[in-house]
């Protein structure tokens, strides 16, 4: 093993098959209390037509087997709790455990969305306070907490814009999206009924304001902008961009995925943004959980308020909170019930733990990114030289000469004990290496990461094969993705059952 690898060492991990392969009839891991009413006869109660026999293939295992199965699987994962997770654009910060505790309290986890509102004042107060905190941080006038994730927040935001324009007589046809944007932006615009017009960044990675001036016509409903952009660069001319749009009756949407660079330092509302979403699972530390759940509140200016999704949280006399189901101009509901409430609770707990001190988190996040940038500049190519905010984007241009790609370097990072940075993104940087350390990394962990990156750069120059075939220390090696897609196997099937195997 390379002596430069300081963070990780080899360890054994246990083999484990699929839970279905461990199953044996008659085992169980859960016992219900005895039935205290007369047993209904299913055949009679449901009728023969509706009654189901057993579920074929369903697991039958004991409690310790279940616990070991999932514990073993868990040891095959990398996680923030194990170390730095520098995935650009994903804001993999510390997920405080007190937030998990709070979300599980009686009176929070136990509440039914249809229970009388007089019994729901605790839940509604949590939502109200979160709304107020997020409005203060974004500099906006109104907010909805309903969207379940960033992409649904984007959809909500575009539907608000559409409803506003429609009310004025013309919903318009197009949404402008920079080529550096997240893939969810164009996918969302289509669901909102808009054509997407991609706009190219100028040579410094910023929006080309002069070109934008020509592109914004009476057909354009909005520009979706990510700020800081996916290059980690603040869009300096954003107030001017907002003016250009507003002068043509169009609106400015901001993808708030990178709010971790701005919280407590500047407010999108002050910059001229009309509507934006926040990813509570990024900036506000709710756990990613292997892909979700998240929450994507949407904050907006006054002009969009009448169109918010129902129900609307309203404060009545005496401070009583109610969810009002009807608003004549509302875009409707985007999700059942009161949003991902459990995620909202965690985010509020995070905000309250910091209070106004959340600015320090932003400063540390930006400091970490700049520290890494400074110490790796020259080792890796920096395609855009404008100041970095919370993340820095290098490219593999230097290593590529030796046949080593960003993906190879990313995979080699695994051997050094780190999760890879983002490789597939932003699309405008060929061979992108997008690094977002977040504020949660100590100087020591940043230094270990820098050492690892330098060691890999050296390997790429002197023995590229070891990088190109990485990772070498993981439980599985590089997997056959082409084969997986060509002949998809998406579920387990019992080997012996002929009827199942045939379908």
């Amino acid at each position: 093993m390379n002596t430069k690898i300081k963070k990780a060492s080899r360890h054994t991990n246990q083999s484990e098959g699929l839970i279905f392969e461990k199953s044996s009839p008659g085992k169980r891991a859960f016992e219900l209390p005895p039935l205290d009413v007369p047993a209904a006869d299913p055949a009679k109660a449901l009728g023969a037509n509706h009654r189901r026999a057993g579920i074929e293939g369903f697991p039958e295992v004991s409690e310790i087997e279940v616990l070991r199965h999932f514990t073993r699987l868990s040891t095959w994962n990398y996680a923030i709790d194990l170390g730095m997770y520098p995935l650009g654009s994903c804001t993999m910060k510390y997920n405080p455990r007190v937030n998990e505790f709070v979300a599980r309290l009686d009176g929070i986890a136990t509440e039914h969305p249809y229970q009388p509102q007089e019994l729901s004042q605790g839940c509604l107060k949590i939502m109200r306070l979160l709304e107020q905190c997020l409005l203060e941080m974004t500099g906006m006038d109104a907010i909805t907490l309903q969207p379940a994730a960033g992409a649904q927040g984007e959809l909500t935001g575009l539907l608000l814009i559409r409803a506003f324009l429609e009310k004025q007589g013309n919903p318009r046809k197009k949404v402008l999206i920079p080529d550096s944007a997240h893939g969810t932006n164009p996918a969302t615009a289509v669901i909102a009924g808009y054509e997407v017009e991609n706009i190219r960044s100028e040579s410094h990675g910023q929006i080309d304001v002069e070109k934008l001036r020509h592109l914004v016509t009476g057909e354009v409903a909005a520009l979706m902008i990510t700020n800081p952009s996916t290059l980690g660069i603040f869009e300096q001319r954003i107030p001017e961009i907002a003016q250009i749009l507003h002068s043509k009756g169009a609106l400015l949407y901001m993808d708030g995925a990178n709010m971790n660079a701005l919280a407590g330092v500047t407010r999108p509302g002050d910059l001229g943004v009309d509507v934006m979403h926040l990813n509570l699972h990024k900036t506000f530390s709710t756990p990613h959980g292997g892909g979700g759940p998240g929450a994507g509140p949407v904050a907006m200016k006054k002009i969009l308020e009448p169109f918010r999704p129902v129900p609307i949280l309203v404060e009545k006399e005496g401070g009583r909170l109610v969810l009002e189901p009807v608003r004549p101009d509302s875009i409707g509901r985007v999700k059942a019930f009161a949003g991902n409430f459990g995620v909202l609770v965690r985010a509020l707990a995070y905000i309250l733990a910091y209070g106004p001190g959340v600015r320090q988190a932003t400063e540390d996040a930006v400091l970490n990114a700049n520290y890494i940038r400074k110490r790796l500049e020259g080792v890796f190519e920096l395609p855009y030289s404008l100041p970095s905010m919370h993340e820095v984007v290098f490219s593999d241009a230097i290593q590529k000469k030796n046949g080593v790609s960003t993906m190879d370097i990313a995979k080699r990072l695994i051997d050094y004990g780190f999760h890879p940075y983002t490789t597939a993104f932003p699309l405008i940087v060929p061979g992108a290496m997008m690094i977002e350390p977040t504020e949660s990394e100590s100087k020591e962990e940043c230094d270990l990461f820098i050492d690892a990156m330098k060691a890999i750069a050296e390997e790429a120059a002197t023995k590229p094969e070891i990088v190109k075939t990485a990772p070498h220390t993981t439980r599985v090696r590089r997997l056959d993705e082409v084969g997986a897609a060509r002949k998809p196997v998406l579920r387990w099937k019992p080997a012996t059952s002929r009827s199942e195997a045939a379908d």
Binding site: T71, M92, G289, G291, A424, V489
Partner: protein, 440 residues
């Protein structure tokens, strides 16, 4: 601040290494006049807070898409392991095999439950799963009319309408018959060769179990997709699965997830193998590594937004992965026998509750059809007034159906699960009797 791992000295060292004098310099790209000079006006820092005014100590007979079921502490112990809790979407397969295999197991369990061939890694919830199922049917048929039973959850229908509004979809609602099932005649006359999907829910919003076979036949005869929404997944432990469906949209909340005032839950889409390339959301697939070992990867990603951008099958990115993991652990703990037994207990308790409530003078069953753990009753007076009296007895009464269905005033949807005790059911029946005896 305890979440931030830097000492003041280290901050100084790092600023020096970057080559700036102050942290302010690092924000110089933000125009000066937009930089905040004052602290944000948000409360804190606090170390703990508590919600007051909640339902602790009340017995509830609410269901309607969110159900109270027993949960093992093991589920929570697993999903709170940092390796699951604090891991990202498993794009780097070599170091996320745990999540990928768990998703593969989730997909398998969802197929087994629903009688379908493929299932995805999760949607946001039952409402968006139903909506995405319809959008999938639209892509598969190239048609734009959708027939949705009015007995589908009102909030699921609302979400569908929000999404449909701007994509050219026309949503029409099919009434329910006197017995609470889909009005088959109305469905037949609305079915033309321009219909993309017929959407029903079972058990439906009134608790009634639908017969799939004839409805599927009607839909298929017109070339439409048959979409079945399942809001109460535990029913599938004992009720025949919608095997006739082309797409099943399910809410997974009943599988080990607390009510949490409405979320986060886990939506499911399950379908036929031949339709997989039009499915929304992530899929974990089995493959092998360069040494021939079994492993799992996210697959068929060319359907998804990060590759296809505006041509993607859906805009979904973040899903409900940890909730899906909780469902996987929970269902594995329950196992074949446990799920069946849980379902049978729901059936028994609900039937016992109906018989107790029918003894109360003036209370009548509304729909005389098979049901699982929910049923509709008719009261001789306003459900809201009765419920406010029950509340004084620390009982959260059944859902008043009149709000969403004006023709069903004085009707209430009663839910009883395995968590409801016989004593609670009897107390509810007694309190209802007293409430109805009071002069108005």
């Amino acid at each position: 601040m305890r979440y931030l791992p830097k000492s003041p000295t280290e901050r100084h060292e790092m600023l020096a290494a970057v080559g700036v004098k102050s942290i302010e310099e690092l924000f110089s790209s933000i125009p000066e006049r937009f930089r905040l000079r004052e602290a944000l006006k948000i409360p804190g820092p606090y170390s703990k807070d508590r919600a007051s005014e909640n339902s602790s100590g009340y017995t509830s007979f609410l269901g309607a898409g969110v159900y109270n079921h027993l949960r093992s502490v093991v589920t929570d112990a697993i999903i709170q392991r940092g390796e699951f809790l604090t891991s990202y979407t498993p794009y780097q397969a070599e170091i996320t095999q745990g999540t990928l295999q768990a998703i593969f197991e989730f997909q398998t369990l969802m197929c087994q439950l629903t009688g379908q061939e493929v299932a995805n890694a999760s949607m946001y919830d039952g409402s968006t799963a139903t909506t995405e199922a319809v959008l999938m049917a639209e892509r598969l048929t190239g048609r734009q009319r959708v027939l949705v039973a009015r007995s589908v959850h009102p909030e699921y229908r609302d979400v569908l309408k929000t999404y449909a509004k701007n994509s050219g979809l026309v949503v029409e609602e099919i009434p329910f018959a006197a017995n609470g099932t889909v009005d088959a005649k109305a469905l037949q006359s609305a079915l033309k060769d321009d219909v993309a999907a017929v959407v029903v829910q079972s058990p439906n919003f009134f608790g009634v179990i639908e017969s799939y076979a004839p409805l599927a036949e009607f839909a298929h005869a017109a070339g439409a997709m048959f979409v079945v929404a399942v809001a109460e997944g535990v029913s599938l432990g004992i009720v025949r699965p919608p095997a006739e469906a082309d797409i099943v949209a399910m809410e997974g909340q009943s599988f080990g997830l607390p009510p949490s005032y409405g979320g986060p839950f886990a939506g499911v889409i399950a379908s036929r193998e031949k339709f997989v390339r039009q499915m929304p959301g992530r899929l974990s697939g089995q493959t092998t590594d360069s040494e021939g070992q079994r492993g799992f990867v996210l697959t068929l990603a060319t359907r998804e937004q990060h590759i296809r951008r505006e041509k993607a099958t859906s805009n979904i990115c973040t899903n409900q992965a940890l909730c899906a993991l909780a469902a996987t652990v929970h269902l594995t703990l329950l196992g074949k026998e446990g799920l069946r037994e849980m379902a049978e207990q729901n059936l028994s308790k609900a039937h016992f509750a109906l018989s107790e409530l029918e003894k109360v003078p003036g209370v009548r069953r509304t729909f005389d059809m098979p049901f699982f753990n929910e049923f509709t009753i008719e009261l001789p007076r306003s459900v809201k007034i009765v419920n406010s009296q029950l509340l004084r007895e620390k009982i959260i009464g059944p859902l008043a159906l009149g709000t969403a269905y004006p023709e069903l005033t004085k009707r209430a949807l009663v839910c009883v699960t395995e968590t409801t005790t016989r004593a609670e059911i009897e107390r509810f029946a007694g309190a209802l009797k007293t409430a109805l005896q009071r002069p108005i």
